[in-house]
Each structure stands twice: as C-alpha cells, then as structure tokens.
C-alpha cells in the first residue's frame, strides 16, 4: 500500500465537493456513523468494480471489504477530499491485483490502432442498437446488458480497467491516471483502444445474430 503522504504529493486538487469535504472531516474525527456513511456511499461502486475484475462474488466481496477497511484507515491522513475517489479506486485496483496474483495491470504489449481498424468485410450498416432507442422491455434490456457485460469481460484486463473506471464509474482521466499510476496519455490511449475493441466486439456479436436469423 502506498503511503498517503506520497498520494497527497501526487494528486492534483480537482473540483470541490462539499459532501466529500464533510465526509472526510467526519472520517478524520472517526465520528459515529462516518464509516457507515462511507460504506453506503462507495460500497456499491467498489463491489461492482470488484465483480468486473474478479468475476466471482466471493472475490469481489473480499476486494470490497479489504478496500473499504484499508481505505477508511488511510483516508484520515488524506489532505484533499477531492482526491478521495481516485485514492479509493487505487486501493481497489491493488486489491483486485492481489486476487489475480499478478504484478501490474500492464498488457504484454500495447495493441496498435491498425489492428482495430474495421476490415473491408465489415457490414456497412451499423449493427449496435442505439441505447436511447431500445424498447422499454425488461427482457430486451437484460439481454443487451448481458451482451455488453460479456464484451467488457472479454477485453484484456489492462484495457478493461481503464474502460470501467472512465465509462462506467465516470472517473475523470486524471483520476484514472492517479488510481493506476499511469500518464494521462496512456489512459487516453488505452481508453480509445478499449472502446474500439468493445465496439468491434459488439458489432460482430449483433452481426452474427443477423446472419443466424438469415437477415442481410
């Protein structure tokens, strides 16, 4: 675990959030109910994050518990409330790595853009449905979610973690860079490749369904 003093030196101050200020003050004082509030505010997000990487509920539960307990103790020393989210995800990412028993979220090699260019055989028309135009049908939405989850799960971990943090957890590029100790340029590069891989996977998945149904 990295020292919070180092974290304070590295993390920039981003936008002020009065709720985070107040919660951090209460955590520093170890006020009654502060840990409960901390768990309520971040527990669901960290649990979902753990599920994305571990795939097993028991592992995700361990990640959640390790992250919240460890982070809560360390957060008392954090100077800037604005850095709380990226600090928390840094702890969670480390807990996920411990579960995977691998050293870092480094790819064996970076995937080049050329590998992700659509091939000449790709269907001309868009196959991925517009989420805003999906029917209000629980079965259709559940099927779509499962397909997207599967495509995310198939991404190489180094790319998946950036996509989940940015597009699902809505962390800023700077927060992801801080959480994963990456340069901003590396976060942008991996995010773009992750999105392209995801897009290609979904296009192929929907195109395969169309072919199976005998549709052009």
């Amino acid at each position: 675990m990295e020292k919070v003093t180092r974290l304070n030196a590295n993390l920039p101050v981003v936008e002020k959030d009065p709720d985070s200020d107040e919660l951090l003050s209460r955590i520093r004082e170890d006020a009654p109910g502060a840990f409960d509030e901390f768990v309520t505010r971040f527990g669901g997000r960290i649990y979902a994050f753990g599920m994305k990487f571990c795939g097993e509920r028991e592992d995700a539960k361990d990640v959640l518990q390790d992250t919240l307990l460890q982070a809560y103790r360390s957060l008392r020393e954090l100077e800037h409330a604005e850095a709380m989210t990226s600090w928390l995800y840094r702890v969670a990412a480390n807990a996920c790595l411990m579960k995977r028993r691998k050293g870092k979220f480094d790819p064996e090699r970076e995937i080049s853009l050329e590998e992700l260019l659509p091939g000449p055989g790709e269907a001309a028309r868009i196959q991925i449905p517009d989420p805003a135009a999906l029917p209000h049908d629980d079965a259709v939405r559940a099927e779509t979610q499962a397909r997207v989850q599967k495509a995310i799960g198939d991404l190489p971990p180094a790319y998946r973690i950036v996509l989940v943090m940015r597009d699902m957890e809505q962390l800023s590029t700077q927060e992801v860079a801080d959480a994963l100790s990456l340069e901003i340029s590396a976060v942008k590069m991996r995010l773009h490749r992750a999105r392209l891989m995801l897009r290609n996977s979904l296009e192929e998945s929907y195109a395969a369904d169309r072919r199976a149904d005998g549709r052009p």
Partner: protein, 86 residues
Amino acid sequence: MSGRHAHGAPECVALFAKLSEYLDGELELGACADVEDHTADCERCREFLESLRRAVAHVASLHALELPENLKRDILSAYARARGSS
C-alpha cells in the same frame, strides 16, 4: 459511398485515432471541426463514429450494483471487530 475520397484513405486513418477524444469533447476546436467536416463527407467514418458512440453509451448505461444488505452488515461487523482489537 459519397465523398471526395475513398474510405480508408489516410484522412480516415488519421480521424480514427481521434474519435474518443472527439466523443469526450477533448479535442481543440480546429481538430473538432476537422472531424465534423470529414464525417459529413465520409459515410463509413460517420457510421463508424456513431457505432462507437453507441458502444460507449451502452457501457455508461450499465448500473452500478446495489450493495447487498448482508455484505454491508459484514463490513460494518469487520470494522467493529477491527476497532475493538486496535
């Protein structure tokens, strides 16, 4: 396909590298205008950009899991135990 160039030309490949920054509103005005000019002219790039936007929107629409109540209880108990032993 309409347009002044064949899809797959160097302009298309150059645009391909910038699409995420364009979707995130992180491109400078000039580069942003370049993307819009190009996609207005190149149907395949326009459709590619739209399919990428849809893929990203699907990810954003996945809801965070609700923390099961029993897990929350377990964590609060673990915290209480840790406090008691420190």
